[in-house]
Assembly symmetry: C2
Homo-oligomer: 621 residues x 2
Amino acid sequence: MKTYSPLPVHDLKLTAGPLKRRQETALRATIPATMAKTIETGRLDAFSLQWKEGMEKQPHYFWDSDTAKVLEGMAAALSLQPDPELEREYDRWVDCIVSAQQPDGYLNTYFTVVEPGKRFTNLGIKHELYCCGHLIEAAVAGWNFLGKRKLLDAMCRYADLLCRTFGPDGERRGWPGHQEIELALVKLYQVTGQERYLKLAKYFLDDRGVEPNLFVAEKAGIYEELLKYYQADVPVRKAVDAHGHAVRAVYMYSGMADVARLTNDSELLAACERMFQSIAEKRMYVTGGIGSSFYQEALTKDYDLTNGSLMYAESCASMGLAFFCQRMLNLTGDSKYAEILELVIFNGVLAGISLKGDAFFYTNYLEVDDNLQCYNSGATVRQEWFGCSCCPTSFARFLTQYQQFVCSAGEGELRLNLPVDCHIDTTLPGGAHVLADVAGGYPNRGVVTVTIREAAEFALSLRLPAWCRQATVRLGGEVLYSDEGGKYFTVKRRWQAGDQVTLELEMKPRFLHAASQITSNAGRVALKRGPVVYCCETFDDDFPVREFIVDTATAPQETVVEGLPADVVGLLCQGWQELPACRDKLYFEGEPTRRPAQLIAIPYSLWQNRGPSRMAVWIRE
Amino acid sequence: MKTYSPLPVHDLKLTAGPLKRRQETALRATIPATMAKTIETGRLDAFSLQWKEGMEKQPHYFWDSDTAKVLEGMAAALSLQPDPELEREYDRWVDCIVSAQQPDGYLNTYFTVVEPGKRFTNLGIKHELYCCGHLIEAAVAGWNFLGKRKLLDAMCRYADLLCRTFGPDGERRGWPGHQEIELALVKLYQVTGQERYLKLAKYFLDDRGVEPNLFVAEKAGIYEELLKYYQADVPVRKAVDAHGHAVRAVYMYSGMADVARLTNDSELLAACERMFQSIAEKRMYVTGGIGSSFYQEALTKDYDLTNGSLMYAESCASMGLAFFCQRMLNLTGDSKYAEILELVIFNGVLAGISLKGDAFFYTNYLEVDDNLQCYNSGATVRQEWFGCSCCPTSFARFLTQYQQFVCSAGEGELRLNLPVDCHIDTTLPGGAHVLADVAGGYPNRGVVTVTIREAAEFALSLRLPAWCRQATVRLGGEVLYSDEGGKYFTVKRRWQAGDQVTLELEMKPRFLHAASQITSNAGRVALKRGPVVYCCETFDDDFPVREFIVDTATAPQETVVEGLPADVVGLLCQGWQELPACRDKLYFEGEPTRRPAQLIAIPYSLWQNRGPSRMAVWIRE
């Protein structure tokens, strides 16, 4: 099995198009906004260890993770665009964080000042290893993006303490209630080469859910019926479906894929594949959102995918699913992972953040109506921050590293996973140097040109998406391929500077039905164009989306949408407005009447950027 | 405004038909089953006050209410059918309960043995006044049905303690977290004539939600945002809509209606009318179920009425709504209250209990499918008992007193609210004696005959239901009325023995649409015949209900349903089964195909009596 890797962090830059714009916004707005909130709420200051009982701003046990994620975003941002002031602030944050480290390497604000003496006594609930994981990721980012190693050294000391404490080389058993440390330790292993970190990551996975079950044995406030929530009900290799808290799940699956890859563990890989199938074929929204229940923010059961007030589809879970898909794609080369990666990147993730970059959804509904109760406060209007602010801080680090998903490198092969506008300057495994540009405005436009800037021999693999009925690859004027998508198409040759490969992806709008098992989508359709999922959005002056019935026999017409970026393609849908036979009764006899009506569908990821609105992805047909 | 009362408890007996069968089942099964569980779980034994720290079966703070409700049902059962063994058991229970009374009148097992010394310190959470209320209701039932006053005397002593403790004549402010005591104190006032009980009931209502808010001031574990849950966010007279925990709400509204009636309080009556309108016009399922969210078991917001896994519609809430409607109907005479009373009685309530009478729903879904997650354990299969077993014990007292809703008595007037088969032997206010029989098999059949058995002069008012497009009233052969329903039709005359009034209610099946604001019902219809709401039910061998599309242009045909009582009218619906274009993908392009299909709809209240099944009330059209 040929495997792939993301390109080194400096080797690909976004140059234009929607993703680039989102990244620019992240630098301009998301990073400053989340930095300000991290400071204002006391999260950064917590590392000064000055908090005492009775004072305000008591550190919460998940606070360190928020600071770490913003810091990771700051490092990534600095690599995209030098900014001396930001860099000074970055250094100050690192100094502050490292100053909180205890002599033995321990580094956690909550257990240092709020519950001193209680470290590692409640791994189930109190996010201790989760916070450590995010600090490690931030440290690795600081090293990879900026070459700064102060935090990296500190986190190695902390990780060494963990190695002495837990697992085969440590004193005791233990694993986290919120997974994250596993993938972080793998990253730490990858930059340091220290096998013990990989070994500990593997231990955290292998011991999870093994009898006697640690969470039950320790009575860490976790009851047996809650074990599924923590993916701790069975050993991770035995799990048959993806269940429980969605973010925990996909973070863990990402770590599993990492360990499977680095230890050649086919059993663990098979478990990863089962988890992916469970999600992609049974438990995922059409937008790539996962976690259909606000109760426990969890993956529930097959086809339980309601669109309204009950659902969750947390922004962080979509980002985590992207991490998992990326790992599986690079590990197996199988394009099916790229399909979901793309779906999530362009839809489930981006819906979670405003175009301005400073407001966020925690929950990503597929239907919002005045009459639907929400179970997550403020959930139908993007918020600047949350008490549990994982989503904003996830965006700070995700958007600034967006480019990591675009290409993969294999032995003598460059794979274009997402054909967005970018500049590539990288050396492939095997030594070939690739200098190239991708342009075309994907995903809003379907014609993509790859221009080779320097002579070199390598294989260029273009992903032909499975949603595409007619994908054409041209080299110069010659048609190399013209058929359905659903695979990578490889052109291996000795390239000359100026060579151009053109990818033409038919972007005709498509109406989708849902599997009939999803009861709430019966009699409804969703609309996609390319990889982009659409929604119908209405405002106060319009009729409610719920009254719209779309005519699927009439092709939606492309149109400009006022108030959104100029390259966004709106789709004008023809249909009817259904008028109730009786407006003032809850239930009544008589046939509703219809009158012709039309609505503009916009990309789901862009809803509620023109003011508070009502929205639905699944429209009556 | 002319007011009405239920008939005295011995004056009306059900004689045949569905309600009579349910009552017989209650005597045969529900009463013995709930008695056995009350004993087995330690609820009755708790009154022996022998429990000590470390022992099993620690009394829960709501246990006394369960015992009281079953006891109330036992008293009612004994009035329907003498049973010396049951009567001995009744006396034993009363002895046991009264033995737990403290010298000052206090009577609560939890605060006597589990938290001694803490009485009245946590009125918000710990159901102390709620338990007292149910014990009072049981005591009043013992007196009314059996003429036994031991428990009544005991509860008067307890109520006297409450009068000395709370309110205008007591030492301090206080009102319950779970309303119930209000309506109970009114009952106690009605049988004892002691004004202080009415005064305390009125105080509990009047002080509720008044600033400084007691629950906030006492910090009784209740946060301000939870005040809506307790209907304690505003003074009860100021409430603009029905919100919060549904059972608490309708129990309180019932008490409000009682106090409004007995104190001629037009402001309080207006508040009751607003609450009713809020429920009936904005927040009620088509079955009469209320409480659309399993979260807080609560009434949420207008039109938030999803059918699936999120909903609640607790059985107790439907019974409570019946109590509220009954009071409003008798207080105002307005037939609109009878409409909802009837709807709830025949649908929302009866669905909660199996035909065998020994298994119960807590949650009453309107749609159950294999793929919908449930948030209430075991919720899609009726259970024998629950940890919080309010619903089974509610049925024990409700079904045995079913006859209370059938007729109302006013000055010289007998009102037939629900024309079910019954025998009436009562003396009306004003002195006229009514001896009459009602027959016809309502609600399964629509032709009802009222036969007068004894000469007397009085007004007979027949309710012509609003759902009926063609209601005909005949006296002998003479047509007195033939038009739409939606009112009471009165025949005032000097009756002779043998006089017959016939009520013919057109029972044509009707398809209903929901207000378009209820998004989950868009493109769907419900089916009613008379007051009975139907559902489609399928079993393993059939196709899932979710694939059925009903042809509303073809009238459903009446049919016999195997496995259900012979008089039950099934409705054979024509339509189509929609076959997905692609069975193995979550989302796909392509048009589904349809093939002709038919399904038998059965009364919603009878679903899942022929084995585990899938069911939907709202069917795609």
